[in-house]
Amino acid sequence: MANITKKVSWSSRGDESGGGERTPLLNGSEELSGDGGMFHIGRLSTVDLEEDMTSDEVTFSFLSILDYDNSENQLFLEEERRMSFLGFKCLEISRWVICGLIGFLTGLIACCIDIAVENLAGVKYYVVKQNIEKFTEVGGLSISLILWAVLNSAFVMVGAVIVAFFEPGAAGSGIPQIKCYLNGVKIPRVVRLKTLVVKVCGVICSVAGGLAVGKEGPMIHSGAVVAAGVSQGRSTSLKKDFKIFEYFRRDTEKRDFVSAGAAAGVSAAFGAPVGGVLFSLEEGASFWNQMLTWRIFFASMISTFTLNFFLSIYNNKPGDLSSPGLINFGRFESDSVAYNLYEIPLFIVMGAAGGLLGALFNILNYWLTIFRIRYVHRPCLQVMEAMLVAPLGPDQSEDYPLQLFCADGEYNSMATAFFNTPERSVRSLFHNPPGSYNPLTLSLFTLTYFFLACWTYGLTVSAGVFIPSLLIGAAWGRLFGILLAAITPNGSVWAVPGKYALMGAAAQLGGIVRMTLSLTVIMVEATGNVTYGLPIMLVLLTAKIVGDYFVEGLYDIHIKLQSVPFLHLEAPATSHWLTAREVMGAPVTCFNRIEKVGTIVDVLSNTSTNHNGFPVVMPVAASDNLGKICGLILRSQLIVLLKHKVFVELARSRLTQRKLQLKDFRDAYPRFPPIQSIHVSQDERECMMDLTEFMNPTPYTVPQETSLPRVFKLFRALGLRHLVVVDSENRVVGLVTRKDLARYHLGKHGLEEMQLAQT
């Protein structure tokens, strides 16, 4: 039995064998003792994340790979023949309708989150403020402190409980998951309705609970879920099928819509429609065309418009479209904030600083995440952790308020910076006039918030990292501006701290997430100031270069920690000498054109080899165990066939039997039943099944000598799931899957092979 599609013969030989973790391919001999740190990391990166939840649905909670390649079998051709010209026109129109709906619903969700957070946080601040006012004079501020902590913990507990116990997929910002989805790896349950509900409620709770998080990242995930749901015209969770958009029930179409949804999410979060489109382009760039771009742009625009419109109604100013995004950086209008040529080097220095700090953030978060994966993996522990972090948000600032350390009527600037929603703090850091912040306060704030944000990201709550990064960056950027104005003679003329706060925010965010084009456009759109395009670009560029020197971006780290077979833009350099023969899995489990049902059932139900694609072969000679390729059939197709009992014998006996159509496959999509649920009697096991009609008759194949980068390019550009490796006589010798490719990395010692953990 070979490893055909996804791995599976996993072994839990963790501790005794070190060499298996990482085999340096270019180092000559096999070093069994991995060297210290690197080895450690390689080993840790293979932690199993989802063991617990796989207990009941053994085979189906695995990562599944999306099939972007269309199976052009006979059913498909038939359907295409039947479809009229008008039918195709209708399809095109319904694509636009879906994109409009996606934008509308995403905007609506953003609006709901915004209003809910605002009200909940308002209630919380009100209660605490009342309490403080009551107690400041008589003492007993500690009581207010406890009240504050309890309120925060309560909010966060609700958020953490729903995430940890109901839908672990909704944890975090969701951007890594969406990146994986657009890349072609589907993390289980990532685009379900339940995930959306948990995500939205979770983010409301965690933001209202005062964690150092933002509500922007989860919007992207929400948009993607909306897209995946709407485009299918039904909800499996609600068991409701609207019988519309049936044509779109396959991976290819669904992924297009998901990228539109992600774009709509970005656009609602930042009021940046173009930035949203570019985000989708940057993250899912392998499958792209002009019409799709145009549709995605449409969805983005609708989304930001919807948010704007409904917020204007909420603010009792219907028709005043002035709040296009969840976060608004405010306007930089005054003449004094234009930049000068000689400031560009300063910006570049800031970018480098952002890269360094971002790398530090990522490394710290990486260690923390590993610790969490190893020791804090039970849901109840995760909830407890979140609850413990929650009161510390204000706790650092708890040296606040009102008159404890300040005279009557004065307020503590530190406290205000903490005692505020992060969005508002960012805005005041950008726009408050010079001199409103004390440098000492600001540096203390930066320091605490940095560690707090680093600590918070990765908790089992749904929350984004955008706003905390912006806030950290804005704080140290402003500090930089203040110091600059202090050390330069008559510097106050051009060293406007707000401008440096903006650059610092861009640098910090760029240093953490390492996005480039889309982030530049998002920042430019969110500030509404094109003048800053060049400095922001330079800052992000420097931050990425400096940061990449140390460690990957935060999202990539988390993707890696989840052992996702993520395909990067290009194959690792220096891998041209690797050929398909070395990479492929072999021998391959194949089926004949006419195969015995018993064999198929046995292969499918073999839990140790959870293969997903099977080449269909024609035996060349009786002695040869390698057959000539004539097609490829997927597990999902076989299951549908078994379910409908499409056996040769039955077809002969019952001539009137309805012919299986493509619709039957679509109805089962995307949750094909597990093989265990299909009952096949002993008699039926002896029947034969004709696969000719259903298999993909023209799968992509490569000769054995194809180099790894060439194979990689095929996967990346065509969105393949399986690639059959054939010899000179077209006989199947192996099968390359995504996991075979994703395991090669360019490490410090040349090309390295990573073990992927089973997830």
């Binding site: 839990s12 963790g14 180092n27 003492g139 501020l141 610790f371 804090v376 708890e398 953990a757």
Partner: protein, 324 residues
């Protein structure tokens, strides 16, 4: 050369509004400077005259190309600054009168403002003069004078500078920024009842302070605490009702500074200890949590995917074999 209607060229008309905010503040400071130093004013006059005549010359040079000027006017132009425009372009006497009154009231108000700048009493002291100024400006801008003469066009809109408008809008901005409208009802030329009540309460506190100021401050703290707290409560109530103007805010600020800095009457710091205790307890909770989960929680074992390959392990040695 000209098609359709002719307009006076007011190229900076729209820009004016943007510049106003900044420039007018400067205008005001100049104005007050002028009030205080007569010498400076005198010295500037020759220079301005010079530049004005220069402008005239420039205008003459420009006029032939500019069709917006009536051709018959050309002969009237001369380099003499003292020469007057013909009747119909001259500002009517009524308007000149209005302008004079405006100037008078303007300077009265500005004088009042300057004298009430510190401690801030711009609302309570100057609302009367502001009302007067507003009235005369309304006369200029809205009302028709005798013989249906409107001074609006002649005084407010006939040149690029629009000085009268500029001056007024500047003061209006100051009025708005100080939120005086909340304390003053201009319709009745009086302070609002809330403000008067606040003043009363404030005076109670201040007189209490004065009474005990001589002796021990701790005595003051105990004796005046009731009135001070009453004042604080009143202030926060007014804050909620949005009836605060700059006068009240400033006086409250000063009182608070007196109370907590000068008299040192802010409550004792004894409770710092429990606050720090609670804070550090909360800080230690996570540490305990992480330690205990590190010690007691079993470590998760990872499960590796073991790749199945055609020819054992794709190690370097195997590759060498294949290539050889």
């Amino acid at each position: 050369m000209s098609f359709g209607r002719c307009f006076l060229k007011l190229p900076y008309f729209t820009n004016m509004f943007i510049v106003q905010v900044g420039a007018l503040l400067i205008a005001l400071t100049y104005y007050t400077n002028a009030q205080t130093s007569v010498v400076a004013v005198n010295t500037t006059i020759p220079g301005s005259e010079q530049s004005a005549s220069g402008l005239r010359q420039l205008a003459v040079a420009v006029v032939p190309q500019s069709s917006v000027f009536h051709p018959s006017l050309r002969s009237q132009f001369s380099l003499n600054l003292l020469s007057a425009f013909p009747e119909d372009l001259e500002v009517s006497n009524y308007c000149v009168e209005l302008l004079a009154i405006f100037g008078q009231r303007y300077s009265t108000y500005v004088n009042c403002l300057v004298s009430a700048a510190r401690p801030v009493k711009v609302c309570q002291n100057c609302y009367g003069t502001y009302g007067n100024l507003m009235e005369i400006y309304k006369n200029i801008s809205d009302q028709m004078g005798p013989g249906n003469v409107s001074c609006r066009d002649s005084l407010l809109r006939s040149d690029r500078l629009m000085l009268v408008f500029l001056l007024y809008s500047n003061l209006e901005d100051i009025w708005t920024a100080s939120e005086c409208n909340r304390c003053v009802s201009l319709r009745h030329y009086s302070l609002t009842n809330d403000t008067l009540y606040f003043m009363e309460t404030l005076n109670q506190s201040l007189s209490c302070f004065e009474k005990y100021q001589k002796g021990n401050h701790s005595e003051l703290c105990t004796e005046c605490k009731a009135t001070y707290r009453g004042l604080n409560e009143l202030y926060s109530r007014m804050e909620k009702n949005h009836t605060l103007c700059i006068d009240i805010e400033d006086s409250m600020n000063m009182t608070r500074i007196l109370w907590s800095k000068d008299f040192n009457c802010s409550f004792p710091r004894a409770e710092t200890v429990p606050v720090i205790a609670v804070s550090s307890f909360m800080l230690f909770l996570p540490i305990i949590f992480y330690l205990s989960s590190f010690l007691h929680s079993e470590q998760k074992k990872r499960k590796l995917i073991h790749p199945k390959r055609a020819k054992s392990n794709p190690s370097f040695i195997n590759i060498q074999d294949k290539f050889s």
